[in-house]
């Protein structure tokens, strides 16, 4: 059953020297792909283990004290951002409790919607208003939308 389809390679472009070089090493030394499997899985695990390590330690750095310190640092730099602290406080408290319940509701809504979504149309509430002309009004819009230039 072992045959070779490389004759089909009718449109491979460029870099073929390198391809051939390295590949022939592989075909002769790893005919069953075992080494590729070991090396490959090793590297995948290595990288994702690193990700795991980094992101399982970051939350430990983000202690409430650290967060307060960081926020104070930021607020000094910026003009004033009370929302941020508020949000963080909200975040660091009640989610453990309601998570399970939220999950249930969320999943239910999700499933319900995904089953229905093509029998309904999503309609934006559109309101027609007559143009109240002012040289100022349009400008704010203009300003707020300029992404930069």
């Amino acid at each position: 059953m072992i045959q070779n389809f490389s004759y089909m390679t009718h449109q491979v472009e460029s870099g073929s020297a390198i391809v051939a070089g390295n590949t022939s090493v592989f075909s002769q030394n790893d005919p069953y792909g075992a080494l590729m499997a070991i090396l490959g899985m090793g590297i995948v695990f290595l990288i994702l283990l690193l990700l795991f390590t980094v992101f399982s330690t970051t939350p430990r750095i983000y202690t409430p004290e650290f967060k307060v310190w960081l926020n104070s640092l930021w607020s000094r730099k910026k003009m004033a951002k009370p929302e941020e602290t508020l949000e963080d406080i909200k975040v660091s408290k009640p989610e453990e409790l309601s998570g399970e319940v939220n999950a249930a509701i969320a999943a239910a809504i999700h499933l319900y919607r995904s089953e229905l979504h093509d029998y309904e149309n999503t309609v934006l509430t559109i309101r027609k208003v007559s143009r109240t002309y002012s040289p100022w009004s349009s400008k704010i819009y203009g300003l707020r939308n300029i992404p930069k230039n």
Partner: protein, 387 residues
């Protein structure tokens, strides 16, 4: 030459007939058109991945309308100067997949993963399907480059498969892309039996702790650190992962909402339309229906099922080392493949079958988004080894 009027009409009509599909049709065109119709039906009736299957299915029909390939009409996807050929450049030169990853990054919320980082390992385990398929492809006589391109089907990631095969085995882009997208669409069919086979009743009822809330700062740091960490070790993953993390930073930075919104709507939609259509159209029957294509489909299915196997098994192995309250429900192991969010939905559905109040969705999503990263890394590895 000057012909008689009737002779001229007869000749014109006969030439015109020579242009029609009826003069050029072949059983393989008809088979492929039926495949296209089947894809469209799956999408509309069964709701399997319609955003992929409708463009691919209709693309298959477009690509298999028989025409006179010798007449230089510039219609076919392989004829230079045709519209399909121009749109196909994005597949052939591999720039659609990174743009898709940009959009995915801009719509993916990694906080499920950040809240339970150990689930990231499920996304690693499931990539074993790729390397198993690599071995099998070698055994069936494919060259190592071709084997690498075929193996990536097991990553369950359409754009990654197109990207890698455009680099390693452009002669197989068509069948590999079709196989990858087909199996992604068939996730709800292929995975549940494997999941039930490998798990005990008790395991299926395991409840996992709800994830913690992830502060905004961590979500902003993730794309930056993730980017540096993965691409320093595997720079060949840069085109895909660089774009994925870039998109995610646009989303999480909180100050570039309009760019993230465009990346995950107009931009990804336009690319999806063009990519699906041309991948479908690249299956022109006469070059597509070959023994190799059939083998590729077989290998893809095997690779996909092995990936599910190794994901679920690895979850069970993790439980051997986990303390009582920290066990992982192995029904989320299947989500290590990168078919987002389909395999996570399968985890949730199967989980609910056994316990109506046990919602696995969020945990499965953690494994699922890790799978996206894992399969892009695996693609980088194959690219490094085989070029």
């Amino acid at each position: 030459m000057d012909l008689g009027t009737f002779e001229f009409i007869r000749q014109q009509l006969s030439e015109l007939y020579g242009y029609t599909a009826f003069a050029n049709v072949d059983w393989r065109h008809l088979v492929m058109i039926c495949v296209g119709l089947f894809f469209i039906s799956l999408a509309i009736i069964k709701h399997y991945e319609p955003l992929l299957l409708i463009p691919i299915g209709f693309g298959i029909i477009i690509g298999n309308i028989p025409f006179d390939v010798t007449a230089d009409l510039r219609i076919g996807i392989y004829e230079e100067g045709s519209v399909l050929n121009m749109l196909y450049q994005g597949v052939e030169r591999g720039f659609y997949p990174p743009l898709i990853f940009l959009g995915i990054g801009a719509m993916t919320d990694f906080s499920s993963l950040l809240s339970k980082p150990k689930l990231v390992l499920l996304g690693a385990a499931a990539q074993f399907g790729i390397f198993a398929a690599y071995s099998s492809s070698l055994f069936l006589g494919f060259t190592p480059e071709q084997a690498g391109a075929i193996a990536i089907i097991g990553g369950a990631d359409g754009p990654t498969a197109i990207f890698l095969s455009s680099k390693l085995a452009p002669e197989f882009i068509g069948p590999i892309a079709i196989a990858a997208y087909s199996y992604m669409a068939l996730v709800p069919v292929l995975q549940p039996p494997v999941m039930r086979l490998l798990t005990t009743k008790k395991e299926r009822l395991i409840r996992m702790k709800p994830p913690r809330a992830v502060p905004k700062q961590e979500k902003i740091l993730f794309p930056i650190i993730g980017m540096l960490l993965t691409t320093f070790i595997m720079p060949t993953a840069l085109p895909l992962l660089g774009m994925l993390f870039f998109g995610n930073l646009l989303k999480e930075s909180g100050v570039t909402n309009r760019l993230a919104e465009t990346a995950r709507s107009s931009l990804i939609d336009i690319v999806t339309i063009f990519l699906g259509l041309t991948v479908g159209a690249s299956t022109q029957g006469d070059v597509f229906i070959t023994p190799q294509s059939m083998m590729i489909f077989g290998l893809g299915a095997a690779s996909f099922i092995i990936a599910t196997f190794s994901g679920v098994l690895f979850a069970k192995i993790m439980n051997l080392f986990a303390s009582e309250g920290n066990k992982v429900n192995p029904l989320i192991g299947n989500s290590g493949v990168s078919a987002v969010p389909d395999s996570a939905r399968v985890s949730q559905h199967v989980g609910l079958e056994y316990d109506k109040t046990n919602h696995l969705l969020m945990h499965a999503m953690a494994a699922n988004v890790s799978g996206v990263i894992g399969s892009a890394i695996a693609a980088g590895i194959l690219l490094s080894f085989l070029t």
